[in-house]
């Protein structure tokens, strides 16, 4: 008698859960959400910046270098189709690199600190700039 009661209550619980589940499913399937209550989230991927088409490596002179000669060699590497502009306090020159991109020029510098600015400009107008401070001094210290 006691076992029968237990089995019946177990079956009743199962039936109750089944009915509740079906009712919940029917409710969710037929539910209508108003457009005003909906929120659209769009994920935008950032567009990567295009890599510059021109590069510039200035090998000579070194930045903050102290030299004892007034003749200064400026050299480096860039794109072979770029135009290189060299500007110092009292000198400017436009040179074209060799087929492998190497360039070099010679200039004379003033006493004390000089700024050397080199700009490589590609045919599409993009540019890269490098700046160096070079000091001419023969002082011993």
């Amino acid at each position: 008698m006691k076992t029968e009661k237990l089995i019946l209550s177990f079956i009743a619980t199962l039936l109750g859960l089944l009915v509740a589940g079906i009712a919940f499913y029917v409710f969710q399937a037929t539910k209508i959400v108003a457009p005003s209550n909906t929120k659209i989230i769009s994920l935008t991927t950032p567009t990567p910046m295009p890599a510059p088409s021109v590069f510039l490596t200035l090998d000579r002179p070194k930045d903050e270098e102290v030299v004892t000669s007034k003749i200064l060699i400026i050299g480096g590497k860039t794109n072979s189709n770029a135009v290189v502009v060299v500007m110092t306090d009292s000198f400017e020159d436009v040179i074209t690199p060799t087929n492998d991109g190497n360039f070099s020029t010679t200039t004379s510098i003033n006493d004390g600190q000089n700024i050397v600015e080199v700009t490589a400009i590609s045919p599409n107008g993009e540019s890269a700039t490098a700046k160096r401070t070079v000091t001419y001094s023969q002082e011993e210290f």
Binding site: E65, V83, G112, G125, T135, F141
Partner: protein, 236 residues
């Protein structure tokens, strides 16, 4: 007989205990002196080499941000703050100074050149020569507008700044093309959208104005694509 053998063994044992005197206690020979001198020389050279590797001559240019009686702090052209130590051996100079010039005459925002000893470890410069200098102001960009009446051009720089460039009689203008190369040119040859480099002096009162000393135009190269939209907006 047994006693004799025992006393003999005792003598032998005692003689073994006698320790030979240390080598250094001996009178130094000429060879030892040379060795000692050589070791000292090697130590001195090693010490000097280490010192030379740590310290090197350097020259920097910077704009003064603060000054004390023993130190000047400047910002170099890379935007880094540099610490310059000053002592009694440091010499100061300025092209505009009429008399003696010293650290007390250096003020904020002055552009100075420093020549001294740079310590790689502390990253400080012990100044030996400090001089007030004027550096050329160089801009690169595209020609936005030309004012024929006032002989000035408006240039949009590659970093997006707008500069008004005054062209004077002394301004030297050059042009570069593949066919003609690098040749002398003039104000009338400058056209809108040309790629341009200007070197000159900035205006003290207006940071967006400068006077050109040298101009280089590139008729075959357009302005940087980065500033095309800005140029179009100005030209409308």
């Amino acid at each position: 007989m047994f006693k004799k053998i025992l006393s003999l063994l005792l003598i032998v044992n005692c003689s073994l205990l006698i320790v030979a005197p240390p080598a250094h206690a001996a009178t130094p020979t000429p060879v030892d002196k040379i060795q000692e001198l050589r070791d000292q020389l090697i130590t001195n050279i090693a010490s000097r080499v280490a010192q030379l590797k740590l310290v090197e001559k350097r020259g920097i240019i910077g704009t003064v941000i603060s000054v004390t009686s023993t130190q000047i702090n400047v910002v170099d052209h890379h935007g880094n703050t540099r610490f310059v130590d000053v002592d009694e051996l440091t010499k100061f100079s300025s092209p505009n100074a009429k008399g003696a010039y010293g650290i007390s005459d250096i003020t904020k925002d002055t552009t100075i050149g420093v020549l001294g000893l740079y310590n790689k470890e502390s990253r400080r410069i012990l100044a030996r020569f400090v001089s007030v200098i004027t550096t050329p102001f160089i801009i690169h960009g595209g020609v936005a507008k030309i004012d024929d009446e006032n002989f000035s051009i408006s240039v949009t720089t590659v970093d997006g700044k707008q500069m008004t460039v005054d062209v004077e009689n002394l301004t030297r203008t050059y042009s570069y093309t593949q066919s003609a190369g690098y040749v002398r040119s003039g104000f009338s040859k400058i056209k809108e959208n040309y790629n341009i480099i200007v070197a000159g002096a900035s205006n003290i009162n207006d940071k967006n104005k400068m006077t050109a000393v040298r101009i280089i135009i590139f008729p075959e190269i357009p302005a940087s694509p980065k500033i095309n939209s800005m140029l179009e907006r100005i030209q409308k």
